[in-house]
Amino acid sequence: MDAKIKYLLHLADNPLILGQRIGEWCGHGPVLEQDIALTNISLDLIGQARLLYQYIASLPGQRTDEDSLAMLRYEHEYLNLLLVEQPNKNFGHTITRQFLYDAFNLCQYEKLTHHHDQHLASIAVKSLKEIKYHYRYSSEWMLRLGDGTPESHAKMQDAVDELWRCTGEMFKMASYEQELSQDGYAIDVSALQAEWMQRVSGIADQAGLKLPQGEVMLYGGKEGKHTEHLGYILTELQYMQRTYPQMNW
């Protein structure tokens, strides 16, 4: 597959899988307002993924559509980060995953808004407005829970410790990113790490949370090698299309 298509799929699969994951909170949120907040973020993310899948499907030589891209690929064909497929566990865990991702996405999308591919840049401008909201929401909750009760603090620290190993992958160039870095189509994600760390450590300090040092990092999601969690997400995500092929609303 073309490196450009892979890169765009990677960008699209992140919000799709995270959106689907957060959607599991629908009807299960800790309080009504947060249930609604999480599902609204989920909707934004799936909307962002749609814009990217629609764009991929419109490129020359692509005999596909947004639904097939989202619903009918196999597990190893999804190129999302390992972070976004991790289970929701508890609310604090979900917030921590969201925060780590939002902080990265903010850095990444700020770069994408200046992309020489005009259409990709337009999608980025549109998405960035929403990502900023998500970041504000998740960072506020990091502070509230990290600096909250002993129990909320312990849960947040546990989430940071557990999810940290999924963050290294964000800054490691995948094969297709390296291939595309020559003409600048893929952003140099390794250059985003310092800014990301500044954001994350700033909030973690205020929240009284310690960031792990020297943890072993997990890699593979961007190349299609996933944790077992993705399969379960896809089972649910793809169920209707697999059971009733070509079904429509």
């Binding site: 307002e33 609204n40 973020i41 962002q48 401008v125 929403e130």
Partner: protein
Amino acid sequence: MDNSMSTQDTHIIRKQIAGLLHEVADPEIPVVSIVDLGMVIDIRPENGHWRIDLAPTYSGCPAIDVIPFLVKARLEEAGMRDTHIEMEISPPWSTDWISEEGNEKLHTYGIAPPNGKASDQEYEGKPRSCPQCGSTHTELISRYGATPCKASYKCLSCLEPFEYFKCF
């Protein structure tokens, strides 16, 4: 559509279409039309049909697929079959595009309209007052409401909850 149509005819039809679009309500907030929300960007003749460009509000708004459908249906009902509807994401929609009339309708409906310009601030702003009792004594409950475009607030005077349309 006849290509030899005069400028005046074009002008009249455009006004007719705009009038019809005024009758297309936002499915999520039926008190405002898509024109009030500033979602209609352009109405123009193109290759023998009328093209209507719409701006989606939030990427994930569930109404995103329904609205073009409703527009098409309203125009067909009025006898206009030759229309083409496009969703344009650039420039991105902003609450700054909501008309004065739209803001008033939101307020009357019980939703506090955006307070301030999204372009001035990277901030959602705060409601000017409670749409129920007019008190300025309000408190944020959640950054999100029943739809992504709104936040949940509580009035500390009349104690009623209400929604605020965030600057975006």
